[in-house]
């Protein structure tokens, strides 16, 4: 059996890559994908910890995270499309001012 530390290390690495992408990229779509990456890393920690602690609630929590992530993607992509229609850009640098 693979020790749980390996899973935790992998999840930490995935989360770090996602966070770095969030900080380094300017394309709103890619930033969204990095958010998905971080959510997946957290899901992996929940599943791994649930297995080691012999608790099924970790998997139930992952389900709710999946649903919330799906809702977040739907609204977020709709916002990106709406912004693109007005400004015809998806770069967050060009959308830095909060004006209409």
């Amino acid at each position: 059996m693979v020790p749980v530390d390996w899973y935790m290390g992998l999840a930490a690495a995935l989360f770090l890559i996602g966070a770095l992408g969030m900080l380094l990229r300017r394309n709103a779509l890619v930033m969204f994908m990095c958010i998905e990456l971080m959510l997946n890393a957290v899901n992996l920690t929940l599943i791994s910890a649930g297995r080691v602690m012999n608790d099924l609630n970790g998997q139930v929590a992952v389900f709710f995270i999946l649903v919330v992530a799906a809702a977040e993607v739907v609204v977020g992509l709709a916002i990106i499309v709406a912004i693109f229609r007005r400004r015809s850009t998806a770069s967050v640098d060009e959308l830095s001012e909060l004006r209409g």
Binding site: V4, N27, F32, L37, R51, M53, V81, D93
Partner: protein, 174 residues
């Protein structure tokens, strides 16, 4: 043994996909990289007996969410190069320093001290209790977590309505 080999393969694939998401210039490549990561994480779920979660991961994420992503990428256009002008000078250097410090801290407390990531019941766990079949998942979900379940149903409805409102094409007056 087979589990270790499978873990190494899936972990490397997940990391490769994640790096692709960040470094790829073309958003389509980023999406494909994310798809690989999602599949690899689903494999890791299967290794850990979370069968239902793995299936839902593939159906919802790899199926629905990635399709939505690719659809929006195609809609918005993929050819545009990101502009490389730095509004905040030195920010990348500071991000690198910060990330290095965090990695060093995490590796330090893991390697030096006898830090455990998860307080395990015992080192050799019999995973009967966490075998994520549909029956096993449904039992806590519809008893202890039923309020959260209803709340997420409401959340999904609101999200769908919000997306419809946001995506409505409003013709500009005059």
């Amino acid at each position: 043994m087979a589990e270790s080999i499978l873990f190494v393969i899936a972990a490397l694939a997940a990391l490769a996909g994640a790096v692709t998401v960040v470094v790829a210039r073309n958003p389509v490549y980023s999406a494909v990289g994310l798809l690989g990561t999602l599949f690899s994480v689903a494999v890791l779920y299967v290794i850990q007996l979370a069968h239902l979660v793995a299936a839902v991961q593939v159906i919802v994420y790899a199926g629905a969410v990635m399709t939505l992503f690719l659809f929006v990428i195609m809609l918005i256009g993929v050819d545009k190069e990101e502009n490389r002008v730095e509004p905040l000078p030195m920010q990348r250097l500071w991000v690198g320093v910060l990330a290095g410090a965090i990695i060093a801290f995490a590796a330090g407390i893991t390697l030096i001290g006898d830090f455990v990531w998860v307080p395990a019941a015992s080192s050799a766990v019999i995973a009967d209790n966490t075998n994520g079949t549909i029956q096993a998942i449904a039992e806590p979900m519809f008893t202890d977590w039923v309020l959260a379940f209803e709340a997420t149903a409401l959340l999904l409805t609101i999200a769908a309505a919000g997306a419809v409102v946001l995506a409505q094409f409003k013709r500009k007056a005059a």
